[in-house]
């Protein structure tokens, strides 16, 4: 039985007809426009677009606004394509997790082959348009980011190692590089630091989520750190990565790549992140490390991490625009 069949049977409850079986039997298209939009993982795309836009705004030089808009659109479409390909590949485990069981593919509203075609078309289209209209270097990084997210993270690492999101986190760190490269046609230290900031932000962000959602991951057999190493080790990892992230995010200021607006914002935001990670580390727990507070500090840190990245990058853009 292939992945898709297993997932669809799980989604359909075994011997009762799933919507897709119904669709297959009668050739009905059950999808709505919203299902196709959901396939693009719009919430992830929003963060990707924002960091890519900041990379574009802080880069030295000038890019025509139409071409700048095209570059950001290509980043968004590529991220959406990667999300669609991720959902196509993970349809079997998505069907097993409460959080993802109602996604369009496991719920049977979009056929796997349709999702695959949709993702591949958008991926190829975004790279070709970026290459033809902006520049080939930005297009190459864009292609690399799609390949990294789908090939390295989704296919290779996610089901094999608890370090999946550490290395896979690089995939989400590409957008500022692409935005910068769209303007300059090259890479410099600042975009590489922006890459590093997102790279070190990703583990504490995802492990905070995994601390309270690990039941889903365990059911699906995904070796997230809390499933494999336990919550106590995960809390230590969250804290250690935060200790690297906080000073790293301030670094552009002493290196004269950003001004005091960014530097002070990064210092304050980093201090908040370390304080939140400390609360996660000191969470009341039983002898096995299970939280006695329903992982309240981890839930708080997950929400804070989203705010952290958005405000940090907004501060960088504001600093550059003011300066």
């Amino acid at each position: 039985m292939d992945q898709g069949t297993a997932g669809l049977l799980a989604a359909g409850g075994g011997d009762e007809a799933s919507p897709l079986m119904l669709a297959g039997a009668t050739h009905l298209d059950l999808s709505s426009a919203g299902d196709w939009f959901a396939l693009l993982k719009p919430r992830v795309v929003a963060l990707v677009v924002f960091t890519g836009l900041v990379g574009l705004l802080v880069a030295p030089g000038h890019l025509n606004p139409v071409l700048g808009f095209t570059a950001v659109l290509c980043i968004a479409v590529a991220a959406g394509a990667a999300g669609a390909l991720n959902m196509w590949y993970e349809r079997d485990i998505d069907a097993l997790m409460r959080r993802t069981a109602n996604r369009p593919i496991p719920a049977g509203r979009i056929a796997p082959a349709q999702a695959l075609g949709f993702g591949l078309t958008l991926a190829a289209g975004s790279v070709v348009v970026m290459g033809l209209t902006v520049n080939l270097f930005a297009a190459a990084i864009l292609a690399l980011s799609i390949g990294f997210y789908v090939g390295i993270y989704t296919v290779w690492l996610k089901r094999r190692t608890p370090q999946n999101i550490v290395i896979g986190g690089a995939a989400g760190a590409f957008p500022p590089l692409i935005g910068w490269a769209a303007v300059t046609g090259r890479l410099d230290l600042l975009p590489l630091l922006m890459f590093a900031i997102i790279f070190f932000w990703t583990p504490p962000h995802f492990w905070s989520l995994a601390l309270w959602a690990h039941g889903d991951y365990a059911r699906a057999g995904v070796p997230m750190l809390p499933v494999v190493a336990g919550p106590r080790a995960t809390r230590r990892h969250v804290f250690l990565y935060t200790l690297v992230l906080a000073p790293l995010s301030v670094l552009p200021w002493p290196l004269h790549l950003a001004g005091p607006v960014y530097g002070l914002a990064a210092a304050a935001l980093g201090a908040g992140f370390v304080a939140g990670a400390w609360q996660v580390l000191r969470d009341r727990q039983d002898a096995d490390g299970r939280s006695l507070t329903r992982d309240a500090p981890a839930r708080m840190l997950f929400r804070y991490s989203l705010l952290y990245l958005a405000v940090l990058f907004a501060a960088l853009a504001a600093d550059r625009l003011i300066g």
Partner: protein, 52 residues
Amino acid sequence: MTDDTPARRPTEGALARRRRGRNIAMLVVLLGISALFYAIAMVKMAQHGMGG
């Protein structure tokens, strides 16, 4: 739940609404792409001194 459960078998009207929604979304996307490619062509022509 069986095959006859209304929740699992969308009505004709619901399917028609979804098809209409998909068609409208496709129309918007195609118009957007057309406008974008037109704007890109104008910018590229201006950059290469072909703007007249």
